[in-house]
């Protein structure tokens, strides 16, 4: 199972629509970094609207992906985190402190644009 990564101008769009298992998440991490390398993208939006559950491992992978991407010069915004997911993450003590978030894809893109310009 691979998660499709779409390219839009200088950004990469990822909408996660399946339950993430550990293998898929690691595969995704690898794919995304390769894609950033190949396309030279400046920004990444990961949309989590359809994700009902994030466990600590997935949260760690997501945090890592963000750190790795910014090492490669791409800013990452997580969008559409569901209330239930947010509550679980907070309850587990996972704060994703350095990660940018936005309400939905649209606002996520706006945020990226602002950051790249500013």
């Amino acid at each position: 199972m691979r998660i499709p990564i779409l390219k839009l101008h200088q950004y990469l769009l990822i909408s996660i629509q399946v339950e993430l298992d550990d293998q898929t998440a690691l595969q995704f991490q690898e794919d995304l970094l390769n894609k950033i390398h190949n396309e030279g993208s400046l920004g990444v939006v990961i949309d989590l609207t359809s994700v009902d559950m994030i466990d600590s491992f997935i949260a760690k992978v997501l945090g890592d992906v963000v750190d790795m991407s910014s090492l490669m010069g791409a800013k990452v915004v997580l969008t559409g985190i569901q209330p239930a997911v947010a509550i679980t993450l907070i309850d587990m003590g996972i704060k994703l402190d350095d990660v940018q978030t936005a309400l939905d894809l649209e606002q996520g893109l706006t945020k990226l644009q602002q950051e790249l310009e500013g």
């Binding site: 997580l78 969008t79 559409g80 985190i81 569901q82 209330p83 997911v85 947010a86 509550i87 993450l89 907070i90 704060k95 994703l96 978030t101 936005a102 309400l103 939905d104 606002q107 996520g108």
Partner: protein, 272 residues
């Protein structure tokens, strides 16, 4: 019901009622019912006595139904339960006094008395049951309405939402606040949420912890949280307790919070 009591009530009704009425007057002074006018109290006593006398002669099941509707009426009117319980206890005392006068055989007296006791206790139990049932309903309803009022979310302008909090915050309420906050942010598509704690009397470590958690969750779903309404004494407690609120913006009043929110959402207020 023992025919003996019925006949006693029938033969000496006036004397019994006379005595009972005196006792009821005592009940009145003990129960702060003095504010009720004499007429109303007199009427009530008459009604109560008539009802109890009528209970003697009716069948048990039927009597139960009558009692329930009787109680219902006075629960609505707000008569205190103690009036009825003490009134019935008085009634029992009076009847016992009459019985012991007319009956000399101790054995017969005891059995009559235990019958009487059972009857009156039954009525008292039923009354207490009806009253407490009514109170439980009221408490349940108030709980529900309290829940509705405990975490309201108001969208003031586009992208900006306010949650005014009033009263103490406990863990259950904090959970509700967080859920409402997050659902509301999604529903109203807000970019900035202002949590107004002007009406929260005490902010201790627990409350602060809950607020911090809520604001972090809000950040995760993609909005910004501003804590407003921090009074001087609250600021003092927060610093004295060593709570770190530096991670998200705080403002002293809702007004200043709204100004910051407008800045964050690239909006401006202009005078026309």
């Amino acid at each position: 019901m023992q025919p003996y009591i019925i006949s006693l009530l029938n033969n000496q009704r006036d004397a019994v009622l006379e005595q009972w009425k005196k006792e009821l007057e005592l009940v009145r002074t003990n129960n702060y019912l003095t504010s009720i006018s004499d007429d109303v109290y007199e009427n009530m006593n008459q009604e109560f006595m008539r009802f109890i006398i009528s209970q003697v002669t009716t069948e048990q099941e039927e009597a139960k139904g009558h009692l329930s509707s009787f109680a219902e009426k006075y629960i609505q009117a707000g008569w205190p339960l103690s009036y009825f319980t003490q009134g019935l206890q008085a009634f029992r005392r009076v009847l016992l006094a009459f019985l012991s006068e007319s009956e000399s055989d101790v054995q017969a007296l005891l059995s009559t008395f235990s019958d009487l006791e059972e009857w009156i206790d039954g009525i008292i139990n039923q009354l207490v049951h009806d009253y407490t049932g009514n109170w439980e309903d009221i408490i349940e309803m108030q709980k529900l309405s309290l829940l509705e009022l405990s975490a309201p979310l108001i969208p003031v302008i586009e992208d900006v939402t306010v949650m005014p909090l009033i009263g103490t915050i406990d863990t259950a309420r904090a959970k509700l606040i967080m859920e409402n906050l997050l659902e509301g942010v999604i529903e109203h598509r807000s970019q900035v949420v202002l949590i107004d704690i002007t009406g929260v009397p005490v902010v201790d470590t627990m409350v602060a912890h809950h607020i911090i958690q809520a604001s972090e969750a809000v950040r995760l779903v993609g909005a910004t949280c501003i804590l407003v309404g921090i009074r001087p004494e609250i600021a003092q407690t927060i610093v004295n307790l060593g709570i770190d609120l530096s991670k998200f913006p705080t403002k002293s009043t809702l007004k200043k919070g709204i100004e910051t929110a407008l800045e964050l959402t690239n909006k401006k207020m202009i005078d026309l």
